[in-house]
């Protein structure tokens, strides 16, 4: 069987039509502030050189800049920082200029409900783990963020909680799932990836299979809460990184490999807080060690763009369909994930 024959299977054709409506999305990433209340272990913002820029805090400068981004064809924005919630006027301008997007936040300060973006609230562990992994900027143990996040976003449809598995916190997800589920929110998974030149103890060593098993267990026990698929669990817990399995399409990876980019490899930029970007750093989480990259954000582009690597079997194509359906549910406000088509 080939691709055109897979599309004769009604369930596959329907899912493909559903996800194909979003092929037009063209995104870039924007660090909007270097300020943050926390200094989390393995934080990517404070790795590398990018945080050493001078913040542009003028909302009108951002408005002018975003006009050019729109002309460039950007119709989806990813806002990060350090902590974007600390610059509410800049967020307001972003939403006025480009209505679709996502904000990565620690959730300690609520983002104005008028900013109708998806909000990804980071979760690093349970009541024991979180304060250890997420210290305050001064160095003392940080807060247990989850109760504050749940309080700030009660009855708010924008957020999804993103639990990052690391080498030590696999079982801590149980408490997190119970709390998130009780509040009627949804949760997805990320896998810790090493920053460049780092030997962090959080890197998964001999714990990938256990992580995968925990993901599967969570999907079975909390089907209404967990936004994930069996194929997501498989690809994010392989010994090889996402780049190793599929080849990363972002400009940073393409430049490192000496290749000419296509699609996202041409258009994606990762802007710093002074509105500049460096092509050699243009990827979803700059300063990641590509050989260890298992970021959920990276997978959204890497796996999605590699449709051609998922058509050698119907099983592969089903996996790809589930993956894209999952990623759209994570990133697009109002998008509902369907049933999994890939049987693991």
């Amino acid at each position: 069987m080939g691709f055109t024959e897979y599309l004769e299977v009604p369930a596959l054709a329907e899912r493909y039509r559903k996800v194909r409506k979003y092929f037009h999305l063209r995104e870039s990433a924007y660090d909007v502030t270097s300020a943050c209340q926390l200094r989390c272990d393995g934080c990517f913002y404070f790795s590398g050189e990018k945080y050493k820029t001078k913040d542009n805090r003028d909302p009108e400068a951002w408005r002018d800049f975003l006009g050019h981004e729109r002309e460039r064809g950007i119709n989806y924005v990813n806002l990060a920082g350090a902590e974007p919630a600390l610059v509410p006027k800049v967020l307001e301008v972003f939403h006025q200029m480009i209505p679709q997007g996502n904000i990565f936040s620690n959730g300690l300060r609520r983002i104005d409900p008028a900013v109708r973006y998806r909000i990804h609230l980071s979760v690093w562990g349970d009541h024991n783990g979180d304060p250890i992994y997420r210290k305050y900027a001064g160095g003392r143990p940080g807060p247990h963020c989850l109760p504050i996040q749940l309080e700030n976003y009660r009855h708010d449809e924008r957020p999804i909680f993103v639990y990052t598995f690391n080498n030590e916190n696999i079982d801590q997800v149980d408490e997190v799932l119970e709390m998130v589920s009780a509040e009627g929110h949804q949760l997805t998974f990320n896998v810790f990836s090493l920053p460049e030149h780092s030997a962090s103890k959080l890197k998964l060593r001999d714990t990938l299979v256990r992580t995968r098993d925990k993901m599967q267990e969570a999907m079975e026990d909390y089907p209404e809460t967990v936004v994930y698929s069996h194929y997501n669990a498989a690809v994010h817990t392989q010994e090889q990184s996402l780049h190793g399995q599929f080849g990363c399409p972002y400009p940073r990876a393409q430049i490192m490999d000496g290749r000419e980019g296509v699609g996202i490899g041409k258009t994606f930029r990762s802007y710093r807080t002074d509105l500049t970007h460096v092509p050699a750093s243009d990827c979803c989480i700059p300063d990641t060690d590509c050989a260890d990259c298992r970021h959920y954000a990276a997978g959204s582009a890497i796996v999605t763009s590699r449709l051609s690597m998922h058509v050698d079997s119907e099983e592969q194509f089903r996996g790809w369909l589930d993956y894209v359906d999952t990623y759209l549910a994570i990133w697009i406000l109002g998008y509902t994930k369907g049933e999994n088509l890939y049987v693991h």
Partner: protein, 90 residues
């Protein structure tokens, strides 16, 4: 299975069938679908291009290498590519 002979007209038809599943103003696009029209100028998204290339692979039984995608900028260059790949495979 041996590769199938291609023509620019046939490839244009495959492109048209592919685009019909996407988010395009097909009435406006149709007159612009010529063998030497640049895919970039037509505003076709990269994932829709992948859809098109995969359909071409299925029909003509040739493999389009991912690293070759940037060089395949029009139906004409794609036709030349398929012809060359087909000749090499014999």
């Amino acid at each position: 299975m041996p590769a199938k002979q291609s023509s620019e007209t046939e490839i244009l038809d495959v492109l048209w069938q592919s685009l019909r599943g996407g988010n395009y103003d097909l009435e406006a696009m149709k007159p612009r679908l010529q063998p030497d029209s640049r895919f970039d100028d037509l505003g076709i998204d990269s994932l829709d291009m992948t859809d098109f290339f995969i359909r071409i692979e299925d029909i003509y039984k040739v493999k389009i290498m991912q690293e070759d995608y940037p060089t395949l900028g029009s139906v004409r260059t794609l036709h030349e590519y398929i012809t060359q790949r087909s000749a090499t495979s014999h």
